[in-house]
């Protein structure tokens, strides 16, 4: 094995550096290349002692699918010397999680009152009463929905992210705008920073600038549903709390329907969306504290998840209204897979309306799905998908998307047959992803697979014909009922909505 003092290691490292600066430098422009490093070649999962330039790629593509211009040699020669080249699939690299402890702590990271789970450090502000340096976030993040008292410890990261009073107290609750049952404009609080060196007036990873006249703050994010994010207007927040941002000038702005906004938050990090409604009056569920009414809010397309509360929202970004023609399922899947699914969504919609929806079982399944779409999307968005599982799903998509599109576009083709191998693949998927199923779905999945197994050897038209069988509809209806997914409407009638 080579060590850093071996001649071979030293020479290999020099050759690797020369290769990266010379013939391989253009790889940095390849969107599939995440980076390069010096290491050792790995063969069938085992690291050898051959020095190598390791090329990190988002996705490894079989050689037969690569144009020759993108093929890499196995080794690169420099005169009589050479260095190995090894391509490793790493997926994208991410900065440290926004849930870590950070000193100084920037805007956008995890923070919370000692009795709260976690929210987002929205911004630094100056207290109008005494000029002291404070953290701005929501009442329900810093003051535990009115339960907190001035002086209570504020932790970075929040308790849900491992923050403790002894090691992570960064500020103390200063004051909050009281939340009440009858009507609210803001969900806001400030906490006085204990040591000014523990915070920095920048946004995490400098993803976006702080509030400036060119990049004004427009609101404080506090709530959301599966399709909308709710935001307090920023001027109301600053006025009610009697605080100001640390920068001079007019650094706040109003929004209108259509304004693009962006934020950085503890859970979904950087997101951008378009303002969909203004002058919003809305009821928001605060768990054990009840449902509270808010007025004069604005709403954006979905751009947040639990833990993003307290994020400062700015004018900017490219916006977007779900990025999927308004279909929350497609938007959630696209975010999960990191793929543009707009083509798939269009193809699926056509297949659903022209073929699947014309069968008894198909109509029932479509109705059942859309009756529970909100829940399904919320589960998908809230699921902490393991990175290995995400890559597994991406590989599935990349392997089967083209075939499924062909099926959906030309379902009458007789050469597309559901095979034993397809069934085995579905079983592998179920085993791999079973932990993400609801208890109800997990309880019936084996019987569903039993029905799917009956389709082996059949063409798509034959399967569609089978899906119109009243007996099969009865079996599927019973399974859906046991799984807790029976639609409220009559399966035989009505139009399926959504997308």
């Amino acid at each position: 094995m080579t060590t850093p003092s071996d001649d071979r290691y030293i020479k290999g490292r020099a050759l690797a550096r020369a290769a990266r600066r010379g013939p391989l430098a253009s790889l940095y422009d390849d969107p599939n290349v995440a980076g390069m490093a010096y290491g050792r070649r790995t063969v069938r999962g085992t690291r050898t002692d051959e020095p190598a330039v390791v090329v990190y790629v988002l996705r490894k593509t079989p050689a037969r699918f690569l144009p020759t211009s993108r093929m890499l040699p196995r080794r690169m020669y420099f005169g009589g010397d050479f260095v190995e080249i090894d391509v490793v699939e790493t997926g994208p690299f991410h900065a440290l999680a926004f849930t870590d402890r950070e000193r100084p702590a920037p805007n956008g990271v995890s923070v919370a009152h000692v009795d709260v789970t976690a929210g987002t450090l929205g911004s630094l502000v100056a207290d109008g009463a005494d000029g002291s340096l404070n953290i701005l976030s929501n009442n329900h993040v810093l003051a535990d929905v009115n339960e907190g008292a001035p002086g209570d410890p504020i932790l970075q990261p929040g308790p849900a992210d491992g923050g403790t009073v002894t090691g992570d107290t960064i500020a103390r609750l200063n004051r909050f705008v009281r939340l009440n049952a009858t009507g609210n404009i803001v969900d806001a609080a400030i906490a006085r920073v204990i040591n000014p060196d523990d915070v920095v007036d920048r946004v995490k990873n400098d993803l976006i600038p702080v509030a400036t006249p060119d990049h004004p703050a427009v609101g404080l994010l506090f709530a959301g549903s599966s399709t909308r994010t709710l935001v307090n207007p920023i001027d109301a927040v600053l006025n009610r709390l009697d605080v100001s941002f640390l920068h001079d000038g007019d650094v706040t702005a109003d929004v209108d329907v259509g304004t693009n906004v962006e934020k950085v938050g503890r859970t979904t990090e950087y997101t951008t969306a378009t303002v969909t409604e203004i002058d919003v009056s809305v009821s928001v569920d605060y768990g054990e504290h009840g449902v509270l009414r808010f007025d004069s809010q604005f709403a954006t397309a979905h751009m947040s998840e639990p833990g993003d509360s307290g994020s400062l929202v700015y004018r900017g970004g490219t916006g977007g209204e779900d990025g999927s023609g308004g279909c929350p399922t497609t938007a959630a899947l696209a975010r999960l897979l990191g793929r543009d699914l707009s083509l798939d969504a269009a193809v699926e919609r056509d297949f659903r309306e022209r073929y699947l929806g014309r069968t008894r079982v198909g109509r029932f399944l479509i109705e059942a799905y859309f009756a529970y779409e909100d829940r399904a999307v919320a589960r998908m968005r809230a699921a902490r998908i393991d990175e290995d599982d995400r890559r597994f799903l991406q590989r599935l998509y990349d392997t089967y998307a083209e075939t499924l599109r062909a099926v959906a576009l030309q379902p009458n083709r007789a050469d597309l047959v559901f095979t034993e191998e397809h069934l085995r693949e579905i079983r592998r998927i179920v085993v791999r992803l079973r932990e993400y199923f609801t208890a109800g779905a997990a309880g019936v999945v084996d019987e569903v697979l039993g029905i799917v197994a009956e389709f082996v050897g059949r063409t798509v038209p034959e399967i569609l014909q089978a899906l119109d069988d009243p007996d099969l509809l009865r079996r599927v209806t019973e399974l859906a009922r046991r799984a807790g997914y029976a639609p409220r409407t009559d399966a035989a009638g009505g139009e399926a909505g959504g997308g």
């Binding site: 549903s225 859970t267 009056s281 809305v282 928001v284 809010q297 604005f298 639990p306 509360s309 859309f370």
Partner: protein, 78 residues
Amino acid sequence: MADPRSLHEVRAVLAEHREELMRRFSAAGVGIGRPDPGGSYVITVYVTDPAHARVTPDPIDGVPVRCLPAGPFHAQNG
């Protein structure tokens, strides 16, 4: 079809009918939207019942009303 209303006019109509709309649709919220970026402002009702999402209510004082499945809303601590 009624003439497009200004934002000011739509605000006034919404202010007058806000509570009635919330009650009628058991709504999670109401607001002012603009489905067509170049078009008219409309009153948007956030409904939680899928059956309500399929309803196209009559305009109120000439202002179109649309129902969107957009609730329930939750405070977003993690």
